[in-house]
């Protein structure tokens, strides 16, 4: 097997050295319970708070609480905010949301009017439809910052403007798992809650956070020792939080991923004329820097994925959280893609350790696989 080319960074990322060192120190020397009253416990609490402050100021949030990851942060924002409301308001979520948001909203369908806001062919929110759907009954709106499958960047400012105009009391929750650190965001602008995950930004798994604006009131969904201001019981994951802080501080300021992504896109398009890009134009600001979704008809995605894996290139088919099941991607379906394009869609996702050499090799290998496999199609 050739050396590994990892292009599945939207699924998870390799922890950076700084994060690993922080985990090590935390587990070896600072393993104390942050709720303990002796000095060591106090220090553990202080390092948690250091990360909290860092995230709070980066996001201009009122408060930040730590969770076990993005899924829990999304669940807490949605279920916690709705539990605090007395009236049965409407819940709107973007049709291309990650399951952590979509399934959580759907779980409210028995007691609330839950609806999915459609997207256009690029995976971007249909603002006209959103305007129609927002009314004074609306209690919660969930719009992700960056789509995890096609990398579309949602126009959050437009959504906030619509919300302020149509239903100013409705909370706006943003799933920032793919957007955090990669794109600027501020909770001052009108976002009420923002979920993030450490392992998507070179931290470690099992750690995430939920940033809250001042007006966002939550009811806890886990009960116990009253940690995290009573909103999230359970002894804090000090090592995970230490890694998250290190990963944030270590994250490169300059975002060179756009260049790499465009190199990948143009390389593939020039060699494989049959290929198409799914989602917004990779050069535009409506597309994020690290996710590129492309179809290679007529070769089925899983076949291509297997063939690429054998050559040392790891990519994914749609969203890794739902792959392993042959169901078509919800995002690509919502975008109204033709079946053949859906069946042959691969997601390449880049990370801070991706090199231009890797991109060039990957382009050659994708072309090689495609040439080999395209001759065999169902007749």
């Amino acid at each position: 097997m050739n050396t590994l080319i990892y292009l599945d960074n939207a699924a998870t990322t390799r922890p950076c050295d700084a994060a690993l060192a922080a985990v090590n120190t935390s587990l070896m020397e600072a393993y104390f319970n942050p709720s303990a009253s002796y000095t060591q416990g106090l220090h553990a609490r202080k390092s948690l708070d250091a990360c909290r402050t860092l995230i709070r100021s980066a996001l201009k949030a009122h408060s930040v609480l730590f969770t076990s990851g993005g899924t829990e942060a999304n669940n807490l924002a949605i279920l916690g905010s709705m539990a605090g409301r007395h009236k049965r308001g409407k819940v709107l979520y973007l049709s291309v949301e990650h399951s952590a948001v979509a399934a959580t909203c759907q779980s409210l369908a028995k007691t609330h009017d839950v609806r999915a806001i459609p997207v256009d062919g690029q995976g971007l929110i249909n603002l006209d439809a959103a305007r129609e759907m927002m009314d004074e009954d609306t209690a919660l709106i969930c719009v992700m910052q960056v789509n995890n499958e096609v990398g579309s960047v949602q126009p959050l400012q437009e959504v906030i403007r619509l919300r302020d105009e149509r239903c100013p009391d409705a909370f706006l929750h943003v799933d920032g798992v793919q957007g955090f650190l990669r794109l600027p965001v501020s909770l001052c602008s009108g976002i009420d809650s923002y979920a993030l995950s450490a392992h998507k930004v070179h931290g470690i798994k099992g750690c995430g956070a939920l940033a809250l604006a001042e007006r966002m009131k939550l009811k806890p969904q886990l009960f116990g020792g009253g940690q995290e201001g009573g909103l999230r019981a359970g002894t804090e994951n000090t090592a995970g939080v230490a890694a998250l802080e290190a990963a944030i501080r270590d994250y490169p300021q300059e975002n060179s991923l756009y260049l790499l992504k465009n190199r990948l896109k143009s390389g593939l398009l020039s060699l494989i004329p049959e290929a198409t890009v799914n989602g917004p134009d990779a050069d535009s600001t409506q597309s994020c820097g690290h996710i590129l979704n492309m179809s290679f008809p007529p070769v089925r995605a899983q076949t291509m994925l297997n063939a690429l894996e054998a050559r040392g290139v790891l990519v994914s088919q749609g969203s890794a959280c739902s792959s392993g099941s042959p169901k078509p991607s919800r995002t690509l379906q919502a975008m109204g893609l033709h079946k053949e394009r859906m069946d042959s869609a691969l997601r390449f996702s880049l990370g801070r350790f991706t090199t231009s050499q890797e991109i060039d090799t990957a382009v050659d290998l994708v072309w090689e696989c495609y040439q080999e496999l395209k001759q065999f199609t169902r007749r």
């Binding site: 089925r300 899983q302 076949t303 291509m304 994925l305 297997n306 063939a307 894996e309 054998a310 392993g324 099941s325 042959p326 696989c369 496999l373 001759q375 065999f376 199609t377 169902r378 007749r379």
Partner: protein
């Protein structure tokens, strides 16, 4: 002196005449292998098998109940036959959590024992009834039978776990199972193994159309089968080249049939290698186009060995129920995408004639292509020996 042990009763082996020692030896061997992980030791005594020395009685008994040839397993207590009071007390202890109707059945092979069987029944029954108010006597249709046997020692047992029956694996030779990862083939293997046949298996891997996950799934299915029938040699045959050649050279409507014929040929060659006497498939008449009688005739014509199809008359639902019962269903249903649909014709021939099939296959025979491909497939096959214990999977080639 009280000893806990498991009494294993065997099924059809009992009916064997002069061959019985042969079947008993195999059953004993298979049970010994099965109880090894529990630290248990099995011994043949008085035409019955006793297991002792295990550390987890319940799990050990369940494990034994899955060995083919076992009719039932009973946790029993062996003790001094001369202290009748103790025998009665032990009977009470063993029936402590038993409720409903019961009777005592006594057997006395030691004819010098001072009490006769009916007397033992009456005395033990009365004592138990006196100490367990949750029980009533019913000698005609009891829910529970408390067995007291007087041999060299006294043996007392009441509970029994139903075994899977059948004949001990190894008593009826070996066969080669075509294992696909679907629902049917593991059940087919189970049924044949139940008649004492040792299994080897072959899986056709079409990388990159089927991924590594599917291979893992097939190994997992094989491992579930080993629980019943002991270690299995699984051949993993790379099938992509053959599939692509069929796709390129043969008429569309015959591709599935020709593919089945190639699979059967390879299984036939591997069966010879393994000294397996037959092939096993999970086919059932009419389930898909390649499982019509005509298609089956075309497939069978390419091998000399008999092809066993134990599911031939079963409905899908019956097969699913059996798969659930033997524990393969959940694994068979793991949803890994099988991209071999690329090679599935939209309109496969349903009533092929042998002559047509031979003709459709002709392009593969030119310049010995098929023979070369079959050779390559057989010679490059990976062989994995699967043991019931997940950790012991190892490549032997």
């Amino acid at each position: 002196m009280k000893k806990h042990l498991l009494l294993v009763k065997y099924a059809e082996v009992h009916l064997k005449g002069q061959n019985r020692p042969f079947f008993q030896r195999l059953l004993l061997r298979n049970i010994r292998d099965a109880v090894k992980p529990f630290g248990g030791k099995a011994q043949l005594h008085d035409s019955r098998i006793f297991v002792s020395g295990y550390h987890d009685e319940e799990a050990c008994a369940r494990r034994i109940s899955r060995v083919f040839g076992v009719h039932a397993v009973s946790p029993a207590v062996q003790m001094d036959k001369n202290d009748f009071k103790k025998i009665c007390q032990t009977a009470v202890e063993m029936t402590r959590d038993v409720r409903g109707s019961f009777k005592v059945a006594a057997r006395r092979s030691d004819k010098s024992y001072p009490m006769e069987s009916p007397e033992i029944c009456i005395e033990v029954g009365a004592y138990v009834l006196q100490h367990n108010p949750g029980l009533q006597v019913d000698v005609h249709r009891p829910e529970h039978v408390l067995q007291v046997e007087i041999r060299d020692d006294a043996l007392i047992y009441v509970k029994s776990i139903q075994g899977v029956g059948g004949l001990p694996v190894g008593s009826s030779g070996k066969a080669m199972l075509l294992l696909s990862g679907g629902i049917d083939s593991p059940v087919a293997g189970y049924r044949v193994a139940k008649r004492g046949v040792e299994l080897s298996a072959v899986y056709y891997h079409s990388f990159p159309y089927t991924g590594e996950q599917v291979k893992d799934k097939v190994i997992a299915l094989g491992r579930i089968l080993t629980d019943y029938c002991g270690p299995i040699n699984l051949y993993i045959v790379s099938f992509t080249e053959i599939q692509q050649a069929i796709h390129e050279k043969c008429p569309d409507d015959f591709t599935t049939l020709i593919m089945r014929r190639c699979m059967t040929r390879i299984a036939g060659i591997l069966a010879q290698k393994e000294r397996a006497l037959a092939l096993i498939t999970g086919e059932s008449i009419g389930q898909v186009a390649s499982q019509t009688l005509e298609a089956i005739a075309c497939t069978d014509s390419v091998v000399n060995q008999p092809v066993l199809r134990p599911l031939i008359g079963s409905d899908k639902l019956e097969i699913i129920r059996e798969a659930e019962r033997i524990g393969t269903y959940e694994t068979s249903c793991l949803p890994y995408e099988d991209c071999c649909t690329v090679f599935t014709p939209r309109h496969p021939v349903i009533h092929p004639k042998l002559k047509q099939a031979d003709y459709a296959e002709k392009p593969l025979l030119e310049s010995g292509l098929l023979i070369d491909m079959l050779d390559r497939a057989v010679n490059s096959a990976d062989l994995i020996r699967i043991y019931p214990d997940a950790e012991e999977t190892r490549s032997v080639k």
